[in-house]
Each structure stands twice: as C-alpha cells, then as structure tokens.
Amino acid sequence: MKLPRRRLVALAAVAAVPRAFATPAEVDGLIRTLVGESPLKDGLVHLDLPVLVENGNAVAMRVSVTDPPSPVESIHVFAEGNPLPVVAVFRFGPRSGVPAVSTRIRLATSQTVIAIARLRDGTCWRDSAEPLVTLAACIE
C-alpha cells in the first residue's frame, strides 16, 4: 500500500511543480531597457489580437505601424502572462515594404500583450491588447 501512495504523492508533486511565469514588472524592466532614454508614447504602432482566443496554441497576431514619421527600425512583442516574457522581435531592413508582420503566437492564459515600435528618429511607441484565452473541454 505504501508504494502506490508514495507514487501518488510524487505524481502530485510533479503536477504541482510551480511554473515560472513572466510578470508585468519583468516586462516593464525589459521595455525600460529597450527604450532607454527615448520617449515612450502610446500610439502609432498597432497590435491586433483577437479579443476572444479559441485556442492559445496559435493566436493570430499582427503588428504594424501606419504612416510612420521616420522609418521603423523594429517591433518588439512582450507577453506578461507567458512563461517567457519575450514573444518576438522584428527588425525591418531596406527592402521592407509596409512595416507590418502577421504571425501566430502562443498565449498561456488571458493576459496583457504589449508591442513596442522603435523608429529611426529614436522615438518609441506602444500598444497593448488584453486577449481572453478560453480553454477547451476535450483535450487529447
């Protein structure tokens, strides 16, 4: 009787391994490092995510900057509630057309996602979204 019980305890311990998650403070620190002394304003950059997410394994995301006053150097995406705070970094080169990228991302849970665009003139712009991630009932 003891062994199965121990096994059960061990299993429970495995299941309860605390998973480290990013925090808003961690993301805030990364953004401060990225932006440095530059001004950070809301606007210009757009982060499009569905309001209601059907499955967090593949969430359609688009980041874009419309009519930038100076060329867009890069767009950085952060997720406050994922295991890791950084989602992706996109740097735009001389052959880039419209400064926009669509991709699919993983979201562990409902959370705030932040996009920061850095322009060549040194300004940084911010947008955020708060997708609601639902969970399916029947998973494999």
């Binding site: 295991p83 740097r91 001389p94 052959r95 057309g97 990228v101 991709t103 991302i105």
Partner: protein, 106 residues
C-alpha cells in the same frame, strides 16, 4: 530539412509593396512541456529568421518559444527590380536552412 511553403505574388510592381507569406514545418518545442513520464521535453525552436532580396534585408526576426508550432509569417517587401528572395532560418541545434524564390517585377 524542414518543409517550407513560400507564397509570393506571381508578378509584382516596382516600388509597390507586396506581401510574402511563409509557413515552416517545425514543432517549435517550447521547453515548457513534460512528456508522459514527467521528463521535461528539451526546447527546440527556430530562433532566428532572416528574409533578404538580392542580399538586402527585408526582415530580420528573433523567435522565442511563444511562436506557434509550424510558424506562419506574413510581411511586406518592396522591390525595384526582379531578384531572388531568400529565407534563412536557424534552429536551436544551430542548423541553418535557406530557401529561395524568384521575384518577378513587371
């Protein structure tokens, strides 16, 4: 060799941005999962992606484990003349793969 699908418009126009769509067959194993006996599954992702047109950069991207399995990317390119669009990506084992497609400017 992972499978790659690249979608470029058949004909594009000088100085007018066009969209390129890319799909790459890759599990993008996040390193956050455990297998059925509780062992951590090691991280295995494409961590860097670069697209160039005749050697000039279009997009240079860093991927993290939050990029979905079988990554999809759509982005915009502007060409002044016909050329070769090259996609290069690197995985966690350091394996690099390059795929090319012709761009025909009208």
């Amino acid at each position: 060799m992972v499978r790659v699908l690249i979608n470029v418009p058949k004909q594009v126009f000088r100085s007018i941005p066009f969209e390129v769509k890319v799909l790459i067959s890759h599990p993008m194993e996040s390193g956050q999962r455990r297998d059925q006996v509780g062992q951590a599954i090691p991280r295995d992702i494409i961590n860097h992606f670069v697209c160039t047109l005749d050697g000039e950069t279009v997009l240079d991207a860093d991927f993290f484990p939050a990029i979905s399995a079988n990554p999809f990317l759509a982005f915009s390119v502007v060409a002044e003349k016909s050329g070769i669009l090259a996609l290069t990506f690197v995985d966690d084992q350091g394996v690099t793969q390059t795929e090319t497609v012709a761009v025909n400017v009208a």
